[in-house]
Subunit: 462 residues, 2 copies
């Protein structure tokens, strides 16, 4: 890929497109847009621009395309696979000032938002209308970033990933043209599904400037339960039986004992240090949830659970899930001076226990430290591998181990990334996962972005 | 589009690719592949071929591409918008002999099937494992055809459309190359979503030769209810409230009184001739459903229902839904010597009642006969317009009225087709619905099928 360096003429051109405080080449701004929350090496852009509307985005892309200048979209920088790191420098387009909630249509269970809206902020507004936007990656992510990575989280098992909660997008293409894809109808068979092509494309096909999101009704009743198991295998069995029985959990998270210890330490949860399932159920009434929880308890008992605490209300639930969401940070705090490589893989349900077993065995064999936790109901596994900063020997082993885990997931018919996206870290596995269809992905990229200016270096190995 | 006529050399070439009984130019075979279940004019292909494996499909497409011969895939011919009518003649590839269920992986909630499998046949096998494939268009459709049209049905409100129930596809592209897209993992953020690009593409981008479908667990308990309302508006309000309350119906169908009368006539259902909702709930236990039904009854009462019959078991439920699925045929039987044009549109929930009101008013004004029924929970409306065969005056008015309804749906932010696909009948509305993104759909078509041999004349106006 051959790009133009961002010279003074280019800088002046971009500067003239926006208000004076919305273009910067200042070092602190560049540093703030050099790294996400992943372990990948930072790379500074040459400039940062903060557009506020689609016309500005269109002008920026039109110019950048004509002059072959890389443009990488930036949401909140909370991604986990280097997705927004501007590998080839150039311009970062930071969408944080395009953060208006444009419309909430309660009757339609829809909202129109700009890409810079933080999903928790949208949910804070929606709460008063009895609605919420379900995907919950945890970090304070923007909806634009969630669309880029097809983000998901604990609630995905019931409510779907970001892909399932987007109805319509307005997208600015590489040359500056604006298209609208999708519909406000809740289902459609009208023409090619470009909508889902753009969702999860990590800002490499076009930049989203508006999204119509699908909302769900806040459940009338919520109840959570915690179950402990002697082994990860027996916990995995309980997960399968809960799904098979149609209990329709709103979350079904499995954590290894090392994670439970950490969560107890920081949040005094008082849980037993065993493989543990956090489950959450949503329903129209308390009585309804009681029948569900009774069935869940029975299924867990049959799978060998040693403890089952049910009937946790919203407050207890929130404490547990906050601890769950903070696991990544806790691991860092527990290991000062260390970095963490997060492995994000997903496998079919039947391979889930075996995949966890492989991961444990490999960690043990490598004498590496790792934490296993997972969106178990989706077969989506995270392994956070810890190593001292700068210890090249350990890091070589970590990288090798991470690679082996991904390869194992692919052998099980799974995917190299369940929710973090390809970014930088998973490019090397695309050939193995997709085979000949990878070439067609490249052709789709070339169709929509012939000069390759949009987030270059991502998804595909150069 | 310029295609080669199917000459003797071509016929011999295709004939040599398959067993002798699997290629035909016989008139009866050609006639059987000239029309689907829609009102669109028949058009015979020049030959029919029945491949049995991907290698044959690959050879057929490789030859057809090299010689610019149109190839239109054929499932069961049950589509409603002319989708498989071979508008440019050429070859029809009938997938009915590729109908093996290759694997059922109960623990994964997955099955691998060939495209010619009829979905009810799959469900008959799955029943013994406590599983089912949820999309239910009603007719004995093949899964390949359902993928082509992104088919859906009454259960879509809870379980999604075909798009939501496909995990992986093996596709033969126009030149004969075979690619596999998607994953067996239940979620993924790995690369571009080609999977959903092919689903709903009506055989214009490639031909599916194998699909991994996502299954659901058969519900432990099922209950149905019927509620009658004084007006379609009040029924529409009940629909919205049932969804908002999170009762998570497995079906939520609304029929006009003219449909109820017809269903009473043929099936002696003894229902009151009023706007009526059929609803179905799935759950893990009978007690659970009782609490749900009590809430549903309350919400219907608040919306003004005049009758509510609940607690219908599987047998009563099946009778009602069989009648519902047969509505199309009943309408034909009720009007001998007539044809029916089915309008299939979908609008956001807030516009649903108004859309029905518009449709009624327009039918009244045109003094045309029509039947309104809908997958109300999805805002998906069918209007079956009836006119005497050969009465050009009436048919001109029917076509005009159908067009006005589609335009109205688009004005409401809806879609020209909720589940029947674009086929022939909705091509003229693609520009209005998609605007500049239609051009990108054309480019995607040109990318995957540069010579345009796959189901030419569909989706796009020529």
């Amino acid at each position: 890929m051959i790009f133009s360096p961002l010279n003074d003429a280019h800088k002046n051109a971009f500067r003239s497109m926006v208000a004076p405080d919305r273009f910067s080449t200042g070092k602190s701004h560049l540093n703030l847009h050099a790294a996400d929350q992943s372990f990948h090496a930072p790379r500074r852009p040459d400039a940062v621009i903060w557009p506020v509307d689609r016309e500005e985005v269109s002008r920026i892309l039109s110019y950048a395309d004509a002059h072959r200048i890389p443009v990488t979209a930036w949401g909140a920088g909370t991604s986990m696979e280097g997705n927004p790191i501007p590998l080839f420098g150039g311009l970062v387009a930071d969408f944080s000032r395009m953060n208006r909630i444009l419309d909430i249509r309660g009757t339609d269970f829809q909202a129109d938002v700009e890409p810079g809206v933080i999903y928790q902020d949208l949910n804070n507004q929606l709460r008063f209308k009895g609605l919420f936007f379900p995907p919950d990656p945890g970090a304070r992510a923007t909806i634009g970033g969630m669309i880029a990575n097809n983000a998901s989280g604990p609630h995905t098992i019931r409510y779907g990933s970001t892909r399932d909660c987007i109805l319509r997008l307005t997208v600015v293409l590489a040359g500056g043209k604006v298209i609208r894809i999708g519909t406000r109808a809740s289902k459609t068979s009208s023409g090619y599904d470009l909508l889902h092509l753009f969702i999860g494309s990590e800002g490499t096909l076009g930049l989203v400037v508006e999204a119509t999101v699908r909302l769900s009704g806040l459940p009338e009743a919520l109840s959570a339960a915690v179950a402990a198991f002697p082994t990860l295998e027996s916990a995995g069995q309980a997960v399968r039986e809960i799904i098979r029985a149609g209990l329709d959990p709103a979350a079904l998270e499995l954590m290894g004992p090392e994670c439970i210890d950490l969560m107890n330490r920081e949040h005094r949860l008082g849980l037993v240090g065993l493989p543990t399932i956090f489950m959450e159920f949503h329903g129209p009434s308390r009585e309804h949830l009681e029948t569900i929880l009774a069935l869940a308890r029975e299924l867990c008992r049959e799978a060998g659970s040693t403890a089952f605490h049910s009937g946790l209300g919203r407050e207890a639930r929130d404490r547990i899930f906050r601890a769950r969401h903070e696991l990544g940070e806790m691991i860092l705090r527990r290991h000062p001076g260390c970095r963490v490589r997060v492995v994000d893989i997903a496998v079919p349900a039947s391979a889930y226990s075996e995949m966890i077993g492989c991961a444990q065995k490999e960690m043990h064999r490598s004498s590496l430290t790792g934490y296993i936790f997972s969106h178990a109901g989706d077969g989506n596994l995270h392994v956070n591998l810890v190593g001292p900063k700068g210890d090249d020997g350990v890091w070589a082993r970590i990288d090798e181990l991470a690679g082996r885990m991904v390869e194992q997931a692919l052998l099980f018919g799974g995917t190299a990334t369940g929710e973090h996206g390809v970014g930088i870290g998973k490019r090397g596995f695309m050939e193995a996962e997709h085979g000949p269809s990878l070439e067609w992905m490249r052709r789709v990229k070339a169709l929509f972005d012939p000069k390759g200016i949009l987030n270059p270096g991502k998804i595909f190995l150069v």
